[in-house]
C-alpha cells in the first residue's frame, strides 16, 4: 500500500524541483507546495504512475497578508490506496493566474469556475470561465477576497426598476446608489461574455427544437437549480444546468463567526443530513487541535450518523418514487412513516428533528437518554423488515423495470472520471466508501459491507440506497452492543482561539464523499473553510447524462441522483 511519504519521494525523484515545500501529516495526508509552472506534470505523474485517478476538488485561499493567493488541488484515488494529496499552487495577488487542470480532469471544470468567480484567479486553458454560483451582474466583485467591502443590497424592492428587453420580456434592474459607486463596491465593467440564456439559444439548430425549463421552480426538483433541456418532440438533445439559486455564502459567513458559531452554519448546508456536516467540521477542527474524542462520544457519533443516513435515504428514495409514480403511491407513505420513527429517535437524543447542531469539538452535546437502546433496536428491526419488503417490491415490479432499467446508466469508467461519489458511484460497481477509504471514529472496528450495483442505472442507484440502509442498521446494532460508558466530551477544554494550522477531513455523507478543508490562523474565527460537497459533482455530471433520453427519463435520472442543491450551492 502506498503511503504519503512514498508518494512524496516518487514525485520528488521523477520531477526534481517541482515540490517547493512539503509536509507529511500522516500516512494518508500529504501537503505539498508545487511550482506553478509544473503543476500539470505533477498531476499527470500522480494520475499515471501512482493511481491518483480521482480529482476531488480545488480550494482557493486569499492570503492577503502575504500578498498572494493559493489554489489547493485535492487529489485522491478510487480505492488503489488511501493517500490524499493536497497540492498548493501560489500566485501573486495582483494578477492571479493558475494553469487549469480542466483538460486533464473533466470534473475540474466547475471547481475552477467557482474559484475564478469568487477570487478572481483566472485559469489558463479553461474551456469556458463563466460564473457558476453568482449572477451575471456580480462577476468582477470577487466576493471571497479578504478585502471585499460588500455589495449593494439587491433585496431592496423599492429600488427595482422595470425595463423591457429587446426580446419583449420585462426585466427588473437595480442600479447602485452614488454612495456605493464611490465606495468602489460596484464593478464598472463586466467582462464581455454571453449570458446564460444567450449561450443556450446559440444551440438551437432548427425550428422543431425548443428549450423546456425544468427549474428553478419545478415540481420535480428537491431544491432550486436551473435545468433547461433542449428538446425535439420528446427527445432531449442537450441539457443545461446552472446553480447558485440557493447560494447563501456560508463559506464566507463562517470566516466572520467564531468557531462554535460556525457549527450552526454547517447544519444548514445539507439540512437532510446535517449530522454528517457537523461531523466533518468538528473533525477537521479536532485534527488541527490534535484533540482525541472519548470513545463513548465516538460511538454516539457513529450511531447518530448512521441513523441520519437511514432517514436521508428513506426520504430521498421515497420522494424520488413520487416523481415517477404520482403522490398517491403507497410505498412512499410507508417510507415516510418509517422515517418518522427514526427522526423521533434522533430527536430524543439531540433535541431537534432537522438541524441538529449536535456534534461538538471533542465530543457530543448530549448523552443518549434512558431506554434509547431498546427503542432503537425495536424501531430498527421494524425498518429492516420493511426495507427488505421494498427491495422485493421493486424487484418484481414490471413497470418499475420499464422505467428504471438502463435509464441513465453510468459505466464504472465514466463514473470515476466525472468524479461523483456515493450511491451513484457505488451503483456503477466501484466500491468506494469513505467509511472504508478514510476511516474515522470507530469505523475500523466495525464490520460492514459496501453495497454496490452492477449497471449504474436508476434502478441500481435506488437498490444501493436500500441496501445501504440495511448495512447501517447492522452497524448501529454493533455499536449498541459495544458502546462503553464514559465521558461524552474531551477533558481538555477547547480554547477560544484555535492554534494556526490546517486540516482536511472527509466523511461519508448519505449523498457521497464530503470533505472540509479548514484553515486556522490562530484567531478566534476560521480563516478559510472550504466545503467539498458530494452533490457538486453529481450536478456537474447531470447535463451529459441527460443527452438522448426522453423527458420522462430526465425526471427519473435527476431524481435518482438524489441531489440536494442546497449543499452544492452552500
Amino acid at each position: 500500500m502506498t503511503n504519503a511519504s512514498e508518494v512524496l519521494s516518487s514525485v520528488q525523484s521523477a520531477l526534481p524541483g517541482a515540490v517547493l515545500d512539503s509536509r507529511v501529516e500522516s500516512d494518508r495526508r500529504l501537503w505539498a507546495t508545487i511550482d506553478p509552472s509544473k503543476i500539470e506534470e505533477v498531476c499527470k505523474h500522480l494520475s499515471d504512475k501512482l493511481n491518483f485517478d480521482h480529482y476531488t476538488g480545488a480550494a482557493g485561499v486569499d492570503w492577503i497578508a502575504r500578498k498572494e493567493m493559493e489554489v489547493v488541488e485535492i487529489m485522491t484515488s478510487h480505492g488503489s490506496h488511501q493517500v490524499v494529496a493536497m497540492l498548493k499552487v501560489k500566485t501573486p495577488r495582483d494578477n492571479p493566474s493558475v494553469k487549469s487542470l480542466a483538460n486533464l480532469y473533466w470534473n475540474a471544470n466547475w471547481y475552477e469556475r467557482e474559484i475564478w468567480e469568487m477570487f478572481g484567479i483566472s485559469f489558463e486553458g479553461h474551456p469556458g470561465l463563466y460564473p457558476l454560483l453568482l449572477g451575471d451582474e456580480l462577476v468582477g466583485v470577487w466576493p471571497w477576497r479578504k478585502d471585499f467591502k460588500g455589495y449593494p443590497d439587491l433585496t431592496t424592492g423599492e429600488r427595482a426598476v422595470e425595463r423591457p428587453t429587446a426580446a419583449g420580456y420585462t426585466e427588473f434592474v437595480i442600479s447602485p446608489t452614488p454612495a456605493e459607486i464611490e465606495a468602489g463596491t460596484v464593478p464598472k465593467d463586466r467582462p464581455k461574455y454571453p449570458t446564460f440564456r444567450e449561450r443556450e439559444e446559440k444551440e438551437l439548430k432548427s425550428d422543431s427544437e425548443m428549450i423546456l425549463h425544468m427549474g428553478p421552480q419545478h415540481a420535480m426538483l428537491p431544491g432550486p437549480f436551473l435545468l433547461d433541456i433542449l428538446v425535439e418532440g420528446e427527445r432531449v438533445h442537450r441539457a443545461f444546468l446552472d446553480m447558485g439559486y440557493i447560494h447563501k455564502g456560508i463559506e464566507k459567513i463562517m470566516e466572520n463567526r467564531s468557531w462554535l458559531q460556525g457549527l450552526t452554519y454547517t447544519d444548514r448546508m445539507c439540512y437532510v443530513a446535517s449530522l454528517s456536516n457537523n461531523e466533518c467540521y468538528c473533525g477537521a477542527v479536532e485534527r488541527i487541535l490534535g484533540l482525541e474524542v472519548p470513545e463513548r462520544a465516538q460511538y454516539i457519533r457513529v450511531i447518530l450518523e448512521e441513523l441520519s443516513r437511514i432517514q436521508s435515504h428513506l426520504i430521498g428514495t421515497g420522494e424520488f418514487l413520487t416523481l415517477i409514480a404520482g403522490v398517491g403511491y403507497a410505498p412512499w407513505n410507508f417510507m415516510i412513516i418509517d422515517r418518522e420513527s427514526v427522526i423521533s429517535l434522533i430527536e430524543s437524543v439531540t433535541g431537534a428533528r432537522l438541524t441538529h447542531t449536535f456534534v461538538r469539538f471533542g465530543g457530543v452535546r448530549n448523552d443518549l437518554p434512558e431506554g434509547f437502546s431498546e427503542k432503537c433496536r425495536s424501531s430498527l428491526k421494524y425498518i429492516e423488515s420493511r426495507t427488505k419488503e421494498y427491495i422485493e417490491l421493486f424487484e418484481q415490479d414490471p413497470i418499475y423495470h420499464m422505467r428504471m432499467e438502463d435509464v441513465g446508466a453510468l459505466s464504472a469508467e465514466t463514473a470515476k472520471r466525472v468524479g461523483i461519489s456515493g450511491p451513484p458511484l457505488r451503483a456503477a460497481g466501484v466500491a468506494y466508501d469513505m467509511r472504508k477509504e478514510d476511516p474515522i471514529l470507530v469505523y475500523p472496528e466495525l464490520d460492514f459491507k459496501v453495497a454496490t450495483g452492477k449497471k449504474g442505472d436508476c434502478a441500481d442507484r435506488v437498490d444501493v440506497r436500500l441496501k445501504e440502509m440495511l448495512e447501517s442498521i447492522h452497524i448501529i446494532d454493533q455499536c449498541l452492543d459495544r458502546i462503553p460508558s464514559g465521558p461524552i466530551m474531551a477533558e481538555t477544554k477547547v480554547p477560544k482561539k484555535i492554534p494556526a494550522g490546517e486540516a482536511y477531513y472527509r466523511v461519508e455523507d448519505p449523498r457521497g464523499e464530503m470533505g472540509m478543508y479548514v484553515i486556522s490562523d490562530g484567531g478566534d474565527k476560521p480563516y478559510r473553510v472550504k466545503v467539498r460537497g458530494p452533490v457538486y459533482a453529481t450536478l456537474q455530471t447531470l447535463p451529459p447524462l441527460l443527452e438522448g433520453v426522453y423527458i420522462a427519463d430526465v425526471v427519473a435520472i435527476a431524481g435518482s441522483m438524489d441531489g440536494c442543491p442546497s449543499e452544492a450551492d452552500r
Binding site: 450552526t264 447544519d267 403507497a330 410507508f334 422485493e392 413497470i399
Partner: protein
C-alpha cells in the same frame, strides 16, 4: 406481461389501508416531545448572573441583555437578563451550552404566535419560569444595599485610618513611603476591622435576623 407479476403492487395500498392513520390530530392532540427537546427557552431568573455569554455566542444576535426587576441583585450586579427575539432564533442551543450558571434551558413548548414582530420578542418576564416576587426582590435589594453600605463604610474607615497614618509617615521620609504605605495598609485593614467589629456585632444580630427572614421568604417563593 403487465398483469401477471403486479399483484404485490396492488397489495401495498391495502396494507397501508389496514393500518391506523398516522395523521397527527393537531391541534387537538399535541405531540409527545422528548426531554431533550430544544423548544422555547426557560430562564431561572433567580440564578442568572447577567454575564451576557448567551448574547455573545448567539450566531444570529437574537439575545439582548435588558434590565428586569425580578432577579437577584446579589448575583446579578447590573440586573440584566436575556431578551430573545424569536423571529431570529434558530433554536440551536448554543446559548444554553454557554451559560455558566446553567440558568437558561430550553423547554418543550414549541408554539408561539403574534400579530407583529414585536410580539415575538420575548423579554425576561415572559421566558422566566422562576423569578422572585416584588417583596423578595425588595428584600434582596435591601440586603444588597446593606452590604454595599457596609463596604462603603469600611472603605471610608480604611481611608480615614490611612489618612491619619500617612501624615506621620510622610514626615518620616519619602523612602519609607512604600514601606509606610505597606504598613498602613495592613494597619488600615487591622483598624477598620477593630473599629468595625463592634459596629458589625451590633449590626449583625438584626442583619442575621433580616437575612433569616429574607431566606425564609425566598424559600417560600421557591416553594410556591
Amino acid at each position: 406481461m403487465l398483469k401477471r407479476k403486479m399483484l404485490k403492487n396492488w397489495g401495498w395500498p391495502l396494507k397501508v389501508a389496514r393500518g391506523i392513520e398516522v395523521t397527527r390530530l393537531y391541534p387537538e392532540v399535541m405531540m409527545e416531545l422528548p426531554a431533550a427537546e430544544r423548544g422555547i427557552h426557560e430562564l431561572d431568573a433567580t440564578t442568572c448572573i447577567g454575564c451576557g455569554s448567551c448574547a455573545r455566542i448567539c450566531p444570529n444576535s437574537c439575545i439582548e441583555m435588558v434590565p428586569c426587576r425580578y432577579g437577584n441583585p446579589l448575583k446579578n450586579k447590573k440586573m440584566q437578563f436575556p431578551q430573545i427575539d424569536y423571529g431570529r432564533c434558530m433554536f440551536c442551543g448554543l446559548c444554553v451550552d454557554e451559560c455558566p450558571a446553567e440558568c437558561l434551558k430550553m423547554g418543550k413548548k414549541v408554539t408561539m404566535a403574534g400579530w407583529e414582530r414585536q410580539d415575538i420578542v420575548r423579554g425576561p418576564e415572559k421566558i422566566a419560569v422562576k423569578k422572585f416576587s416584588e417583596k423578595e426582590v425588595a428584600a434582596l435589594e435591601a440586603e444588597a444595599k446593606r452590604i454595599a453600605a457596609e463596604k462603603a463604610a469600611a472603605k471610608k474607615a480604611a481611608a480615614k485610618e490611612g489618612a491619619k497614618k500617612p501624615g506621620a509617615a510622610a514626615a518620616a521620609g519619602g523612602a519609607n513611603n512604600k514601606a509606610a504605605k505597606k504598613k498602613t495598609a495592613p494597619a488600615g485593614e487591622g483598624s477598620p476591622e477593630a473599629t468595625e467589629k463592634p459596629s458589625e456585632k451590633t449590626a449583625e444580630v438584626p442583619a442575621a435576623a433580616k437575612e433569616a427572614k429574607a431566606e425564609a421568604k425566598t424559600k417560600e417563593g421557591g416553594a410556591t
